[in-house]
Every structure is written in structure tokens, then in C-alpha cells.
């Protein structure tokens, strides 16, 4: 029984080899394992990339290696394990071949490089900034971040492939498991909550078109940001003077009142009421304006003189690590007679 099964296997093997014998090609009963490594793995259009061969079973240093692009020989030498080239335009495929001759045997490794560019960027969707702030909102620990991928990949005809026709595979800090449900066909955005234990987080997206055999990839680091408090003066007629942040000591002329705004930058919130504000003046709690908890109005009474330390703690009750205290000194003419309301 056992003998007949072995004989059957030998016959099958022989029949499999016959076509190669008839074609005259060398047959290698055990083809050496040669791996190729491309860096970067998914070159952008016109980007220089490097191909490297490695093998644990064959001494490639003794091999005569000939490199070709689309059938045209580019370089050759003994032990030439690396080859550098430049990718073509977006969507234009290049076939890279390495002919490896070792002793009397030779092997060919071929692969195709089709460059595609993918942009990846993010926004901290719940990070606080003043309404007219032109800078980027940055995410604090626990903040919600939305990541976007925009592939700029064209087909062989030079036509741009619609972003919603690609398959997107997202990974977070090298792992796909946490964000697997957000990967898939046409899923070009990823939402995540910034980890409170990890400073910088890396998000990677792999963008593939199965039908066109084009793949692109991009990564981005989302930094950890500390929330900030910046003080501004609020003018009764001109509004908050965002052009000039206050630095102490801030002089308040005798008999005048001033409103100080403590602007929370990069706290997680939808509305100002999502944050808590605790003001202190001269070490004692001070009551902010009822309508703007980040605004404190100070009146310098007649004859007042002295420096008043002012501080505020802003916290996001839902995010334990988002709590900051900032101080500002006020120069009054008599601190004991200052009135806070």
C-alpha cells in the first residue's frame, strides 16, 4: 500500500518536470531562496528607490548579477546586490529584473514598481482655539483626531484614479487590529482618540487598487501636545485683543477696570462650558464674568497700589491629563483695594 503511493508521487513529479526538460531551461530541484527588499516600499512618482537582494542559501557575493529595467540592461557586476533607480510618473509601471548567475546555474527575480503618491494628514477635531485662529489646532492626550489619506495615483493613461475606488488599510503604531473596522474599500479617513500613555503616535495607510495593481503608502506622526493658556486683554469696544498676548506685569491704571481673557488652546471641548475654570487673585478664589468663565474683570480702586498675582486653572473634566495652571501678575496701585467681579 505504502510502496504504491510513493511510486505514484514519483510519476507525478516526473510529469511535472517534463515540460521544462523539453523547453531546454535549466531545472533546479531546489531553487535558492532569494528575497528582494525595496526601499521605500512604495516609491512616490520620480522618487529614487533602492532594491537589495539577500539570501541565506546562496552566496550572492560570488554571484554575477545583471540588473534590467523593462528588459534593458542597466548594470551588472559580481556581488552587485543593490541597485538604485528612479520611479516613473504616477501609475507608470517599471519591471525591474535581476539575473543572478552562480556557478553554472542562473535565476531571475522580477518585480514591478508602479509609483503612487499618498498624502496623509490629520486634524484635532475637538481641540480648542479662538474662532479666528489661523494656526493648526493640536491634539492633547485623550483628544479626538481624524486622519485623512488622499491618493494621487494615475493609471497608465495618466488619468487620476478616484480616491474612493481604492482599498485602504490603516494601522496605528504598527498594528492594524485596533483600527481594522475603519479599513476597507473607499475608507479614506480614520478616527482615533489620542492615547494618553503614548506621546507620538504613528498612523500608516496602505492604499491599493487590486484591479490596476497599484499600491501606495504613507505614514504620519501625530504629536502629543500640552494644552496652553494664553492671556489677552478684552477691550470694551474692540473685543479680545488676540494680536498681543499679555505678559506680566500688566498695569491697570488707577480708577480703571480691565478684563483679562484666559484663552484655552488645545483643550478637548465642543463648547466653552465643557471646561472648568478656577480663577485666583492674591491666592483667593475670584469670580469670573457669569457669561464668560474665562474672563475676569479687575477694577483698580482709587489710590490702589501693588502687584496682584493672578492665576487660573483650566481643566477638561472628561480628560484627567488636560489640566493647566497659568499665572499673570497685575500691577495695581493698591492691591488691597482691588475689586474682582
Amino acid at each position: 500500500m505504502h510502496v504504491s503511493r510513493h511510486i505514484k508521487r514519483i510519476y507525478i513529479s516526473l510529469f511535472a518536470v517534463i515540460p521544462f526538460l523539453l523547453s531546454g531551461l535549466p531545472v533546479h530541484a531546489f531553487e535558492p531562496y532569494i528575497s528582494t527588499y525595496i526601499s521605500p516600499a512604495y516609491p512616490h512618482p520620480f522618487e529614487t528607490f533602492t532594491v537589495e537582494l539577500s539570501s541565506y542559501t546562496t552566496d550572492l557575493d560570488q554571484a554575477y548579477i545583471t540588473w534590467s529595467i523593462d528588459g534593458i540592461v542597466q548594470a551588472s557586476d559580481y556581488g552587485m546586490k543593490t541597485f538604485q533607480s528612479q520611479a516613473g510618473a504616477s501609475g507608470v509601471a517599471q519591471t525591474i529584473s535581476a539575473a543572478i548567475a552562480v556557478g553554472n546555474e542562473s535565476y531571475i527575480k522580477s518585480f514591478t514598481v508602479t509609483p503612487g503618491k499618498v498624502d496623509i494628514f490629520w486634524e484635532a477635531i475637538d481641540a480648542s482655539t479662538p474662532p479666528f485662529y489661523r494656526g493648526k489646532a493640536l491634539p492633547a492626550a485623550g483628544g479626538v483626531v481624524r486622519v485623512f489619506a488622499i491618493p494621487d495615483i494615475t493609471n497608465m493613461s495618466g488619468e487620476r484614479i478616484a480616491p474612493d475606488t481604492f482599498d485602504y488599510t490603516w494601522s496605528r503604531n504598527g498594528f492594524t487590529r485596533d483600527v481594522r473596522n475603519q479599513s476597507g474599500y473607499g475608507k479614506s479617513t480614520l478616527s482615533l482618540r489620542k492615547d494618553i500613555l503614548t506621546d507620538n503616535e504613528t498612523v500608516t495607510v496602505l492604499v491599493e487598487s487590486q484591479s490596476l495593481k497599484i499600491t501606495g503608502s504613507a505614514s504620519i506622526v501625530i504629536p502629543a501636545t500640552e494644552p496652553e493658556i494664553i492671556f489677552y486683554a478684552q477691550h470694551p469696544l474692540y473685543g479680545t485683543l488676540y494680536a498681543s498676548a499679555l505678559e506680566g506685569p500688566v498695569t491697570i491704571p488707577e480708577g480703571e477696570e480691565t478684563t483679562i481673557i484666559a484663552e484655552p488652546y488645545f483643550f478637548s471641548r465642543d463648547n466653552m462650558s465643557d471646561l472648568s475654570f478656577e480663577w485666583f487673585a492674591n491666592g483667593k478664589p475670584a469670580t469670573p464674568r457669569w457669561d464668560y468663565p474665562n474672563a475676569l474683570t479687575i477694577e483698580a480702586s482709587e489710590g490702589a497700589r501693588g502687584i496682584v498675582p493672578l492665576s487660573i486653572t483650566i481643566s477638561s473634566p472628561e480628560h484627567v491629563l488636560q489640566s493647566i495652571t497659568e499665572s499673570l501678575s497685575l500691577l495695581l496701585q493698591n492691591s488691597s483695594e482691588a475689586t474682582f467681579f
Binding site: R134, A137, I150, P223, H235, A243, S244, T251
Partner: protein
């Protein structure tokens, strides 16, 4: 002992002289006090020496309601200096308009029958609209409808329609308005009429011909763009993006340019999109702290990027990047209508800071000089130093007059509008 007649006469003369001296001193100190109260409040709080000196032509808005005043109490036209402050109070935006002769009240014989340039502006404290002709530099109040809290404004080319924006807690709301002038009676005051409104605005810009607005608004997830005619008679949804943190630049009538908001250590991207299409086509990518300004043909992009604790300015043209000989933020620059010449407010010194974040937050302020550059020939030229005119300027919102002769901008330090006579600075025209 009874004083002699001679002594009495000397005593009377002495008393009269003393009264005269006291009267002069009182008048002097009263004037000084009035001058000081015109210094904007927030300079005092800035904690630095940003107060504006009076050593240049400065328009006074006091006592000018309803009629033109004259800077030297005469009706003669004046020749404005190279760089001049148009209005001494903070504004919520301004535009240069061309006046017909009848409105300009032109009395300068050599300038008769020639149109006059003027600035139309919104006073920040009141929302009143003023007109300041360059040939008098005296402001005339056009409307007295009080609208406090206007942060900035976008004007159509005629200055008749304006889109104002204000803060609404954590968002921005906008109102389109029409300015209706009074009748020909010099004492007549016009009014400003609200036409339409928009909430949850992310960014706004006008097209090059300034007859329409592009308003980017918050969507359920992301942003949507719409084109609105200045009079509010038509609007059209033209764009949707799941990403919302865009700054828009409607540089060409057919295309809108979108730049991701900038931070020093975050890679920024610039795209363009055809009006009516939401497809984003990349122009610049992965540049930290990227800020941009595109010319009106889409052929050149002025951009800055953050490098260590400073920033660098370059131009992208024909896919080639070229560094410029000076460094500033692109929003402090304006392209001329040829798309070749640039006018920039350039800080004399870029202190070590996190750019552009610290400038946006008001942590740092610039002291600018004004530069010209021809981006084809590489020729560049220093135009003016505000310090020569006794002022320190951190310029924002630069715009050119239609004839290209004047550069209008707002001084971020005190929100007052200024004009640079660039034609004169370049030696191109005479008055």
C-alpha cells in the same frame, strides 16, 4: 506804606503776565492730554514700545461727522506721504475705492477731472462706515448704524457691499451687508442694511474680480464650500471635504486653493480644486508650517515653511522651488495683477520663535519694512520703513488698489489701516 503808582503798574503787568502764562500752560497740557487719549488702549497692555508716535500724517476722526475736515484747517488738498495712516482708530477691515469727482470734493486744480482714490472702512468700535479720500485724508462718516463686534470684513470691488464676520462663542458668523449712502446733502448720513447671514464659517475669501465670496462652512463631518454673490441674490454649493481645517485662497476665478492650517512641526499641504468639483489636486506637500499665497494665474505659489526656530520664504513655479532673498509669512504679501510682482511686509528681524504659531497667538509681533520683488527678473527693492514715519507696523491683510498704485493693509498691533504709495516708492508716477 502806600505803594507808588509805578509799583502798582508793575504789579498789574506782572499779574497779567502770570495769567497769560497760566492760560498758555493750561492750553498746552489740555492739548497734550487730548493727544494721549487717542493712543489705542491695547498698546498700553502690549508691554512693549508699540505705541505710535505722532510724527507722521495721522488722520483725526474727531469732530468730522458728516463732513470733510481739513488737516490744516484749510480746504486745500494735501499730498499724502509715501506711507500714511488712513484712520487713527481700530477698524474691522477696509478697501480702496475710486471716487467720482463729485464725491471726492476735489479742490486741487491740477487734479481736477481725475478720479480720486479713497479708503472705505468699518470702525471697529461702532461698526460705522467711513470714507477717507487720499486728497484730503479727512474721514467722512457714511453710516451711523451701530454694529459692535465685527472682527473683519470682505469688500466687493465697488465698496457698496461688504461681508462682515464676528465671533459667536467658538464659531464664526458672517453677515452680508449693503452700504447705502446718504443723499447729496453734505450732512446726510447713510445706512448699512443686512442682507443675509451665514453661521459656522471656517474661512472666507473673495474672487480676484471681487464680485463673489467663497465661504467655507462646517458640515456634519468636514467642510462644505459655497459661492455667494455679494448682494446675496445667489449662492451655489461647490465643494465638500471630510477635512475641515483649510485656509482658502480664491486666487483664480476657476480654481480655489486650499492649504492645511499650519503649525511649526506639522507637515502642511496645498491643493487646488476646480470650482464645482471636490477633487483635490496636490501642489505642495509635507512642508512643516506651510503657509501659501497663489498668484491670480495659478502659475506661482509664494510659500513659507518652518525651519528650526525661524521660517523661510520660497516660490514654486514650473514645479521648481526658489528661495527668496527675504523671509516673511505669505499672508503679509500680495501679488500684483500680472502675477509676477510681489509686495511684502517683511520683519526687520525674525526672532527665534515657533513659526507661525507664536505669531498667530500674538506671543510675538513683527516690525516690518516693505519690499518689492519681480519674481521673473529676481529684482527686488526696499520700499519703505515705517520707523522713518515714526511708526511700528506688523502688517496683515494687504491688498492692492485696482490701479496698482496703493497698498492697503492693517497694522496688527493696533488694527489701524495704512496705505503705502507704491507707485511713488517705485518712482513710477508723479502726482
Amino acid at each position: 506804606m502806600k505803594p507808588s503808582l509805578k509799583t502798582t503798574i508793575f504789579l498789574i503787568i506782572g499779574i497779567l503776565l502770570a495769567i497769560l502764562v497760566i492760560w498758555f500752560a493750561f492750553s498746552f497740557f489740555r492739548n497734550t492730554s487730548q493727544h494721549n487719549t487717542s493712543v489705542p488702549f491695547f498698546n498700553f497692555f502690549a508691554g512693549n514700545n508699540d505705541t505710535i508716535d505722532g510724527g507722521f500724517t495721522q488722520n483725526n476722526t474727531d469732530d468730522n461727522d458728516g463732513e470733510y475736515g481739513t488737516p490744516s484747517d484749510t480746504d486745500e488738498d494735501i499730498l499724502p506721504p509715501l506711507l500714511f495712516q488712513v484712520f487713527s482708530e481700530p477698524v474691522s477691515g477696509a478697501t480702496i475705492v475710486t471716487l467720482p469727482n463729485t464725491t471726492a470734493l476735489n479742490t486741487h486744480k491740477s487734479a481736477e477731472n481725475t478720479p480720486q482714490s479713497a479708503v472705505r472702512l468699518i470702525e471697529r468700535a461702532t461698526g460705522h462706515v467711513f470714507l477717507v479720500p487720499f486728497n484730503t485724508l479727512k474721514s467722512k462718516r457714511i453710516t451711523n448704524t451701530t454694529i459692535p463686534g465685527i472682527y473683519d470684513s470682505f469688500w466687493d470691488t465697488t465698496g457698496e457691499y461688504v461681508f462682515t464676520r464676528s465671533a459667536a462663542e467658538t464659531t464664526i458668523k458672517g453677515i452680508g451687508m449693503q452700504i447705502v449712502e446718504g443723499d447729496e446733502d453734505p450732512d446726510s448720513i447713510g445706512a448699512i442694511t443686512a442682507l443675509y447671514g451665514h453661521d459656522n464659517i471656517l474661512d472666507t475669501d473673495t474672487n480676484p474680480s471681487r464680485d463673489a465670496l467663497y465661504i467655507l462652512k462646517e458640515a456634519d463631518t468636514g467642510a462644505r464650500g459655497m459661492i455667494v454673490s455679494f448682494d446675496g441674490s445667489s449662492y451655489q454649493d461647490v465643494f465638500y471635504s471630510p477635512f475641515s481645517e483649510w485656509l482658502i485662497d480664491w486666487a483664480e476665478d476657476e480654481y480655489v486653493y486650499l492649504t492645511t492650517k499650519a503649525s511649526a512641526t506639522v507637515p502642511g499641504y496645498l491643493y487646488y480644486t476646480r470650482i464645482g468639483d471636490s477633487t483635490l489636486y496636490p501642489l505642495l506637500s509635507e512642508k512643516n508650517g506651510l503657509a501659501t499665497r497663489v498668484n491670480s494665474y495659478g502659475t506661482k505659489v509664494l510659500f513659507s515653511e518652518s525651519t528650526r526656530d525661524t521660517l523661510s520664504l520660497s516660490i514654486l513655479s514650473n514645479k521648481k522651488e526658489t528661495s527668496l532673498p527675504f523671509n516673511t509669512l505669505p499672508e503679509k504679501c500680495v501679488w500684483d495683477e500680472t502675477g509676477i510682482e510681489l509686495y511684502c511686509a517683511v520683519p526687520f528681524r525674525l526672532q527665534s520663535a515657533t513659526y507661525p504659531d507664536d505669531w498667530y497667538k500674538g506671543i510675538i509681533s513683527f516690525n516690518d519694512g516693505f519690499w518689492y520683488m519681480n519674481t521673473e527678473t529676481g529684482e527686488y527693492m526696499f520700499l519703505a520703513s515705517p520707523e522713518t514715519y515714526g511708526a511700528q507696523i506688523d502688517a496683515v491683510s494687504p491688498t492692492l488698489s485696482e490701479d496698482g498704485n496703493y497698498l492697503l493693509f492693517i497694522n496688527k498691533k493696533d488694527m489701524t489701516p495704512w496705505v503705502l504709495n507704491i507707485a511713488e516708492a517705485l518712482g513710477r508716477i508723479n502726482y
